[in-house]
């Protein structure tokens, strides 16, 4: 028994010592580091996955003697455990992480992410990214939009209208350039018994359509009020009132199927891929997949009449404060910003943040990037409707399911989504 006790005490002391030593990790000079632990959650065949595989190769060539320990993680795995992961000595030296107040903002406010401001200036990342792209990179006490750099995005995304060219031709519909033309086009489809707009009420597309409609009446001031809490937002006034009322009107007129409340985004995507619906309003993340899976003639256009569009930078490269190879991590980020890697993203159906359209060989890909550059250039990235407060995504889903089902009026939905927003903002801005 005594021997058992001695062993237990020794094991406990050893464990505590190891923990204490590990807790010291990340301090001091890391210029001699010869390992870079890198985690991200992009699939191997996605535009970003392909580009970052190449970036890792370049990094290895330029850093002989440095071992890159890459681990591909699941999005949810990082989303739910990032705080614990990077607060431990077992975390990576550089990691892809979700942009926004509830994620990168939260960790930055707890001192868990490295301040990258000096590197961003020195290496020119601040010049490569437009102001609206920098919004997600900077956080001030956890709130995005200003303050220090805690992450670097190197791809972008935005919401657009995808359309089936063959169905447009078949029904004599031309590509709309204003919202009025868009409704006229949808009226044509409805008159011929075709539901014009694919939808999924159980996930993000409904909220994004509502936001696109609201943005048709919005400007940067509204976006800053709504997303960055610059001023209180009145949900009973335009643009949000217009967004909810128009959404309900579109359901009533049959532009959106009334039985789409339980559908997932995947259902909407596959419905478009199979040619069942003429249009969907969704993000550039579908682009690569549509290119490879759609057999008919399709294209995209920006949501007609809008100067503001749902969209943002992609997720961020962050460097945990516990990283033992910070300088190597900065080198890696720098490589991903190079024209070669940016072009690789663009040529595989992604949206590079510092991409030169001339370097993109495919016409469709070039148009995707040109549209993004147009939006980004006019400061038109308005982020996403669920960003302002944690858990708001499900609030919006629930609200717009009510509109699709026609079980709730636009006013009731606006009330239902206003309170969690106001409570959440009060919570975030209280500290």
């Amino acid at each position: 028994m005594r021997r058992f006790r001695s062993v237990a005490v020794a094991a406990t002391v050893a464990a505590l010592t190891a923990t204490s030593l590990a807790a010291c990790g990340g301090d001091g000079d890391d210029s001699g580091a010869n390992v870079l632990k890198l985690w991200h959650y992009e699939s191997a065949n996605s535009a970003m996955g392909i580009a970052w595989d190449r970036a890792i190769e370049i990094f290895k060539d330029e850093h002989p003697g440095v071992e890159v320990r890459f681990e591909r993680k699941a999005f949810e795995q990082i989303q739910q455990n990032a705080g614990m992961i990077i607060n431990s000595a077992e975390g990576p030296d550089i990691m892809e992480y979700n942009k926004g107040n509830a994620t990168a903002g939260l960790l930055s406010s707890q001192g868990l992410l490295t301040d990258l401001t000096a590197e961003a200036t020195e290496r020119g990342w601040d010049k490569a990214l437009s102001p609206s792209l920098q919004t997600t990179a900077k956080y001030d006490n956890g709130v995005m939009g200003s303050g220090n750099w805690y992450g670097v995005p190197n791809y972008g995304e935005y919401v657009m209208v995808y359309y089936n060219k063959e169905l447009f031709t078949e029904h004599g519909v031309t590509v709309p350039t204003t919202l009025a033309e868009m409704t006229a086009a949808m009226d044509t489809f409805v008159a011929k018994g075709v539901t014009p707009l694919g939808m999924s009420g159980a996930e993000y597309p409904a909220g994004q359509l509502f936001y696109q409609l609201a943005l048709s009446r919005a400007d940067r001031t509204f976006v800053n009020d709504y997303q960055l809490y610059a001023n209180p937002v009145d949900f009973k006034a335009d643009p949000l009132r217009y967004g909810a009322q128009t959404f309900a009107e579109w359901v009533g007129k049959g532009y959106i199927a009334k039985d789409s409340a339980s559908l997932k985004a995947e259902d909407m995507g596959t419905s478009f891929i199979s040619g069942k619906v003429p249009m969907i309003v969704s993000g550039s993340w579908w682009y690569g997949r549509f290119k490879s899976e759609i057999s008919y003639d399709w294209d995209s256009f920006l949501f007609p009449g809008n100067t503001m569009h749902a969209g943002s930078s992609g997720n961020l490269w962050v460097v945990p404060e516990t990283s033992k190879a910070k300088n190597l991590a900065y080198d890696f980020i720098d490589i991903t910003m190079r024209p070669e890697i940016q072009a690789l993203i663009g040529n595989n159906g992604g949206v590079p943040v510092a991409g030169d359209p001339a370097a993109i060989s495919d016409e469709k890909d070039r148009k995707l990037i040109e549209n993004f550059n147009t939006i980004s250039g006019q400061d038109g990235l308005a982020f996403y409707p669920d960003w302002p407060v944690p858990g708001y995504y499900d609030v919006l889903v629930s609200g717009f399911q009510g509109l699709i089902n026609q079980s709730r009026s636009p006013e009731q939905v606006l009330d239902a989504i206003a309170k969690p927003y106001q409570d959440g903002v009060a919570e975030i801005t209280r500290d």
């Binding site: 705080g83 159980a202 339980s262 858990g391 499900d394 399911q401």
Partner: protein, 323 residues
């Protein structure tokens, strides 16, 4: 299963010879026995006791999951009292108890009795066993898989609507899981399908130990199936009924997987339940303190229900023992 109150003397125990002295109080169990309890106790503390105490502490804090929790006393519990979603989730728990306990137990009782008393006698026992296995099959499927499959069936373009179209009832087609009026009844129907096999198997096993002479005697006396079911089957398998009732009630109160797979608590919170609400609050809203408070209330209610069940079972057994 039932333990009689009057426990017989241990086999081999012999009465102590009279000593003429005042009888000593029964000896406390040997201290050595405690050693055998240690692994279980340590595991309990590690897996249940510790996390429970920590969750209780977190429920008194405001915490986003990183940094230090700040102590706010009973604020989370006060907020819970006026939280409509919390009350909706508990109202839905009653529906889950109906779907996972009441109906499967009632239907399971009748099915087990029919399989045992009628099918098992008139056909080969193998027929009853095959049917029993068929009823039990949904229990073998991972619940998330069952949820996804039922999600396909109930989609707007799913098999159920396809079937309705095929038999000329296309006007009844519906977005079954997307409409707040039909989502909860559909989830309940799926849960009845999932749960039914469990009571059937338990009750059939219970019926195996019932003395067949009781049934034969009852039949000779002219008792019909219903009379035999009420007078013999029900009283004989009462202990198993309590076990099924208790375990299924606990399962219904903490149901999570099917809700996650089928509806994520929607539409419009129509199928939200406390476990999903706690998960959502904890991981999605990053309100760890509030999520912990929901979990603590749920745990407390489950413990109270479990104690009430066990007491009722003990009372019934005492009553039976006294007959």
């Amino acid at each position: 299963m039932a333990v009689p109150d009057t426990v017989a003397a241990r086999p081999g125990a012999t009465p102590s010879p009279p000593t003429g002295r005042t009888p000593r109080r029964p000896r406390r169990p040997d201290a050595g026995y405690w050693l055998y309890l240690l692994p279980g106790a340590a595991l309990f503390l590690l897996v249940i006791g510790g996390p429970l105490v920590y969750t209780g502490y977190l429920s008194l804090t405001k915490w986003s999951g990183v940094g230090d929790p700040s102590f706010i006393g009973l604020d989370n519990y006060r907020t819970l009292l006026t939280d409509d979603v919390f009350w909706t989730s508990f109202t839905n728990t009653i529906a889950m108890i109906v779907a996972m306990v009441v109906l499967p137990t009632l239907i399971g009782l009748v099915l087990a009795a029919v399989l045992f008393d009628t099918i098992g006698r008139r056909f080969r026992p193998r027929t009853a066993a095959a049917l029993r296995a068929a009823f039990y099959l949904p229990q073998v499927l991972p619940v998330v898989v069952a949820g996804i499959v039922w999600g396909w069936i109930l989609r707007p373009d799913g098999a159920l609507n396809g079937l309705l179209d095929a038999i000329g009832l296309g006007t009844l087609s519906h977005d079954w899981l997307g409409d707040p009026d039909t989502a909860l009844p559909m989830v309940m129907a799926v849960m009845i399908w999932v749960q039914l096999g469990y009571p059937v198997v338990v009750f059939m096993a219970a019926l195996e130990r019932v003395n067949p002479e009781l049934y034969e005697a009852a039949e000779i006396d002219g008792a019909g199936w219903w009379r035999r079911f009420r007078a013999i089957t029900l009283p004989q398998i009462r202990p198993e009924t309590f076990v099924v009732g208790l375990t299924c009630t606990i399962a219904a109160m903490k149901v999570f997987g099917p809700i996650y797979a089928l509806t994520r608590g929607g539409p419009e919170n129509a199928t939200n339940v406390p476990s999903y609400f706690a998960y959502f609050t904890f991981f999605k809203r990053l309100n760890v303190g509030y999520g912990s408070a929901i979990s603590m209330v749920l745990t407390l209610i489950i413990v109270v229900v479990a104690v009430l069940f066990i007491r009722a079972q003990n009372r019934a057994e005492r009553r039976d023992g006294g007959i």
